[in-house]
Amino acid sequence: MFWEQLLNGLTLGSTYALIALGYTMVYGIVQLINFAHGEIYMFGAFAGLILVSFFGFNLIAAMLAAMLFCMLLGILVERIAYRPLRGKSSRLSALISAIGVSIFLSTLMALMAGTNTHRYPEVIAHQSYHLGSLDLSLMQILILAVSALLMIGLQFMVQKTRIGKAMRACSQDLDASYLMGINVNRVISFTFAVGSALAAAGGVMVGVYYNAVWPYMGMMAGLKAFAAAVMGGIGSIPGAMIGGLSLGIMEIMGVAYLSSSYKDAIAFGMLILVLLIRPQGLMGQKISKKV
């Protein structure tokens, strides 16, 4: 049973990790907890649902289209709700604006799609493989593989490409990057786009895996993914992956071997603990205050 539960945890954890990546990228560059990120994940799941059930897309095509859609949504959100605040307002204002966007988007979806849960059609036939006593389903393999692929791609992009370098420069010092001739606004838009695309991929996969999407799925998933990002060390891409995976495993193991009554408390309890013991997170670097 342990190995099966571990697999459950890894699957759940990789969805957290995908959402956490978006959080961590945005936070790394503009120091903003993008509360609307969970809602983008939800919109991604719904976009995939519509494409699959009404337009007959296959899984990969639906996922790519949903990612594209959420890229645009992410850029739009940034333009409307965050850019006007940048520079002239406090971080508190930006955070509150993010909460506003989050409430707005989830309510919007609830008005459009109803508050109830929708079934995701089975895009791929359920199939499971036996590895000794372990049951491994095709969907689990797919989630793990796609997550790993996206994460590696992201890491490559940030480390090796031109725009990745610009992103890293911005995360060090926004003003200095601006002075160095980097189009900061474009880099930020790009960051939101990439983060949103990852969230959309997560949304579609979660929808297919659990066969269910609903308008309020973003809130809790977003909070937990953020907890994962903080645990891993916000701003760090490997940190977000490790944080997400370990949160997923901890939650599942908590349910499996301790009590399922405290499942939500586990995520937040760990978050508080990590912040108290190691505020910079597991993989983060200590930043000294600038005076």
């Binding site: 049973m1 099966e4 539960q5 459950n8 945890g9 699957t11 759940l12 508050t115 109830n116 849960t117 929708h118 079934r119 359920h126 499971s128 049951d135 389903s137 979660v206 659990y210 066969n211 269910a212 309020y216 799925m217 809790m220 939650e251 599942i252 349910v255 499996a256 009590s259 399922s260 009554s261 499942k263 939500d264």
Partner: protein
């Protein structure tokens, strides 16, 4: 300086509040005066307030309930109303929130001057409204509250639901004797009162009948990941899964069970009623979910048959338990008022308490001496060919 003269601001605001307050008073006077005129017209209209959510998480109980109530009121008016007076329904959406239902109940009583309120389908919300109704001496008639501690609030509080504490022992009896299930798994939805209240009722009944609970677990309403719970369940060796929560999670649990290759029947209370159970669960719930409730549109009595036909004609959909219970609630209130020859809640509530063997569309209802309803029989419903299907009717044995 941010604060400097703020104390003046505070005073100004207090003044403003006072003005608002006065406005409240004066409009109250107006309302009172208005009521004098309205009194005449009110002599013709008997008002009933609807309690239930038409938006939010529990809207799928409130919406059909509202339809049932509307239909009952129209039927009454078609027959000439109650005691020659017209009946009028007042409808507000309480969104399933405590503070909302409290405000709405107050509004019904003080502004709309209702003689009775019908609802709410949820036990907790009913309690909030019942407290207000009792204090203001207005009858409240819940069409769905199945938990304990409702009618104890006072003699103006009634309900016409099949109570879990009466139904569950019979259901457990059926599971053990007709089905031969001896080893039970119980999963509770931790964050809904309905579920945490129902679980102990099952536990007691199972213990009393000599069954064995092999595993107890919890989930959270609103989650989608139940992989860990199902993996645990797979290794527990249960014959049947008793799930005391709502339909959404039941469907998702069965989905996950199917994926993990676990073939088990899930049984629960009327919280499992909801067409989303079938929409979400599809073949995973096909003949794999059973719930008990007081109403089924299959094998109807003549009264029920007439009700169903009319309902389908009007709303183009099948009625459910809540539409039937709201319908009955209004009709039972009308009967009590007619028999008592009074629309004064203080008078007709006593007549109401004496109700015996009322042949409603949701089954026969009798109030015990403590005003708890006894309804018989229980319908066991399952899913077949993508529809709810009456599996069996079993009688209720009340000790």
């Amino acid at each position: 300086m941010i604060r400097g003269r703020k104390s003046r601001w505070a005073m100004l605001l207090c003044l403003l509040l006072a003005v608002a307050l006065l406005a409240g008073c004066s409009s109250n006077k107006e309302a009172a005066e208005g009521n004098k005129d309205a009194d005449k017209s009110q002599e013709e209209a008997i008002k009933l307030g609807f309690l239930g959510a038409t938006t939010g998480d529990v809207a799928n109980y409130g919406i059909p309930g509202k339809k049932g109530m509307e239909m009952a009121i129209d039927d009454l008016n078609a027959q000439g109303g109650i005691l020659g007076k017209k009946v009028e329904g007042v409808y507000e959406d309480n969104k399933g929130e405590n503070s909302e239902i409290a405000l709405i109940a107050t509004k019904y009583i003080t502004r709309d001057k209702v003689v009775a309120m019908v609802g709410d389908p949820c036990t907790g919300l009913t309690k909030v409204a019942a407290d207000i109704a009792q204090k203001n001496k207005v009858v409240i008639f819940s069409a769905g509250a199945t938990g304990t501690g409702v009618v104890e609030i006072g003699d103006y509080v009634f309900r016409n639901t099949l109570l879990d504490q009466f139904a569950v022992p019979s259901v457990v009896d059926w599971m053990m004797n007709s089905k031969g299930w001896k080893n039970f798994a119980i999963i509770t939805s931790l964050n809904i009162g309905y579920s945490t209240a129902l679980t102990p009722v099952f536990q007691e009944a199972i213990k009393a009948k000599g069954g064995k609970i092999v595993i107890e677990d919890t989930i959270n309403n609103g989650e989608t990941d139940f992989t860990a719970q199902i993996t645990k369940l797979k290794n527990a060796g249960a014959d049947v899964l008793v799930f005391t929560g709502y339909y959404r999670e039941a469907a998702l649990l069965q989905n996950e069970a199917k994926k993990q290759g676990l073939d088990i029947t899930l049984l629960g209370g009327d919280g499992l009623y909801g067409h989303d159970l079938i929409k979400l669960g599809k073949d995973a719930v096909e003949e794999k979910v059973i719930y008990y409730c007081g109403f089924s549109s299959d094998q109807p009595s003549p009264e029920t048959d007439a009700f169903i036909k009319k309902y389908v004609e009007r709303f183009k959909e099948q009625p459910d338990m809540f539409s039937a219970q709201y319908y009955d609630a209004v009709m039972i209130l009308a009967k009590a008022m007619t028999d008592a020859k009074s629309t004064d809640p203080a008078v007709f509530k006593d007549e109401l308490a004496r109700l015996k063997d009322y042949p409603g569309v949701s089954g026969n209802t009798t109030f015990r001496a403590d005003r708890e309803p006894i309804k018989s029989p229980i319908c066991l419903i399952t899913v077949k060919d993508g529809e709810f299907f009456l599996l069996e009717k079993i009688p209720v044995k009340v000790q």
